[in-house]
């Protein structure tokens, strides 16, 4: 195994103390109210806290907190592309980098970007790309950096929302905001905006209709820019799920709009009456 020479090294192997816990891990119930008191089968998203512009060095930045999930996003650019060999110079490039802080998950993660982070970065890029007017930024690139500070479920959905907010804060021209929402299908029932435990639970005798679904949605255009689903779901369940996600996005919309107007007001206060 190649050793990481660019970081302070610890012991070769170490185990999380939760593996040796004397009590078995809590089993997520598959019916009844959810652990955090929200309702099943309803568009019951966690209350979100959103702020624009927490990072002074970035062109645009945003922070979103939904329950315990904490995501931060910074946008740099548009600046000159690094890759000069790119054949198509007519429109700009959108690069995304999504990372989990090592302490963000119950199990400690590695500093090195894993395949999951790469997958999520790609999905984030695909969800955002169609909403950004890239043809207005020829020969330039816009960098979107997302850092997950705490992962308590539905990371991709919140990352999409946060990133689009940061892009808007940076003054990048966009067709619309992009909002994300995810659901978890568990047999006949589903939960909206699942937590980490709900995302990683497998009910024993469920059979089919198990899976997760994340939708990236452009609310004022009423279009879907990204859809990611895993697991096994019937066609009807999936379409119903998409509809539920869209509903969830609309619940988020006023909060995001408010945060954005607040940031704009702060940056350029409206002329006073006097």
């Amino acid at each position: 195994m190649p050793t990481d020479t660019k970081r302070v090294r610890g012991p070769e192997v170490s185990q999380s103390p939760s593996l040796f816990s004397d009590k078995p891990a809590d089993v997520v119930p598959s019916r009844g109210p959810r652990a955090d008191g929200r309702q099943r089968e309803q568009v019951d998203v966690r209350p979100v806290f959103v702020r624009c512009g927490p990072v002074s060095q970035a062109k645009g930045s945003a922070y979103i907190e939904a329950g315990d999930t904490k995501v931060m996003c910074c946008v740099y650019g548009p600046r000159e592309t690094e890759r000069k060999d790119e054949t198509d110079m007519k429109c700009g490039r959108l690069t995304t980098d999504m990372r989990f802080a090592p302490f963000s998950c119950p199990e400690r993660g590695s500093w090195i970007q894993g395949s999951q982070e790469k997958d999520l970065s790609l999905m984030l890029q695909e969800s955002l790309q169609s909403a950004v007017c890239l043809h207005k930024y020829p020969r330039s690139q816009i960098e979107v950096n997302v850092m997950v500070l705490e992962n308590s479920g539905s990371v991709l959905a919140h990352a999409v929302t946060c990133a689009s907010l940061a892009l808007a804060d940076a003054g990048i021209e966009m067709y619309d905001l992009v909002l994300g929402c995810s659901i978890r299908q568990d047999g006949a029932s589903y939960v909206v905006d699942p937590s980490y435990a709900e995302e990683n639970s497998r009910s024993s005798g469920g059979g089919g209709n198990q899976g997760g679904l994340t939708v990236a949605f452009l609310p004022s255009l009423n279009q879907i820019s990204g859809l990611q689903s895993d697991g096994e779901m019937t066609q009807e369940t999936l379409t119903a799920g998409v509809r539920t996600c869209i509903e969830g996005c609309y619940k988020l919309y006023p909060v995001i709009q408010q945060a954005l107007t607040k940031a704009v007001r702060k940056a350029a206060p409206p002329p006073s009456e006097s």
């Binding site: 050793t3 020479t5 660019k6 970081r7 302070v8 090294r9």
Partner: protein, 219 residues
């Protein structure tokens, strides 16, 4: 400031050989007791566009340990050596060019960083690069009795309670760089600085002698 016990500063036996490598523009090997470092300088040469600085030369320092790959510790030492060299070199005379300094550790028997600094200075001198002053590295160890040992061996370093490395310039004998380990009082710090300044006289005298010896041979 004479509280350090002996009035004369004891250093291990020094040795230096310049231009011992044929490929680099300047090279030197420096030994302090059993500690030995080989330094090579390349440049001024063409610089990568990404590293180009418009008004001065880009200096890169690489420290290669005796075995294995350079790690985080080497990187922090590289930073110290680089910024010390940058302070004494007149980099503005070679804008948009690159200087590379490679330090190969041959043997580490204590006071490694100071030996690296001394080797670097001799190699830069050998390369004929314009410098505003010379610099030398001195390591001081404070042992458990509070005695200051200059140029400690690896065993002395291990037993010490605090270890400090300073780079001293030849012009005003002021501290260019300082890197410390262990905890110590303000008074001890001042004593160590005074001792290193005294030790630096000896090292600069050694620099002078070895350069004189070398040129007396070639001329």
């Amino acid at each position: 400031m004479e509280a350090c016990g002996s009035s004369s500063v004891s250093l291990r036996e020094f040795g230096c050989e310049q231009s011992l490598l044929s490929r680099p523009d300047g090279s030197a090997s420096f030994t302090q007791g059993d500690t030995s470092v080989l330094a090579a300088v390349y440049g001024p040469a063409e610089v990568k566009v990404s590293k180009e600085i418009y008004d001065r030369a880009t200096l890169e320092v690489l420290i290669q340990p005796k075995v294995g790959l350079p790690g985080v510790r080497e990187r922090s030492q590289e930073q110290c050596v680089r910024e010390t060299c940058e302070a004494s070199l007149l980099l503005t005379l070679h804008p948009r060019s690159s200087l590379t300094l490679i330090l190969q550790v041959i043997h580490d028997a204590g006071s490694l960083l100071s030996c690296c600094l001394n080797a670097a200075c001799m190699a830069l001198m050998d390369a004929g690069l314009p410098m505003s002053c010379l610099f030398c590295g001195v390591t001081c160890a404070i042992d458990t009795d509070g005695q200051i040992i200059t140029d400690p061996t690896a065993a002395q370093e291990k037993e010490s309670r605090a270890l400090m490395t300073f780079a001293v310039d030849s012009k005003d004998r002021k501290v260019l760089m300082s890197l410390t380990k262990g905890s110590f009082s303000v008074h001890e710090l001042q004593q160590c600085i005074a001792v290193s300044q005294k030790a630096s006289e000896k090292i600069f005298q050694f620099y002078r002698d070895s350069v004189r010896r070398r040129y007396s041979k070639t001329l």
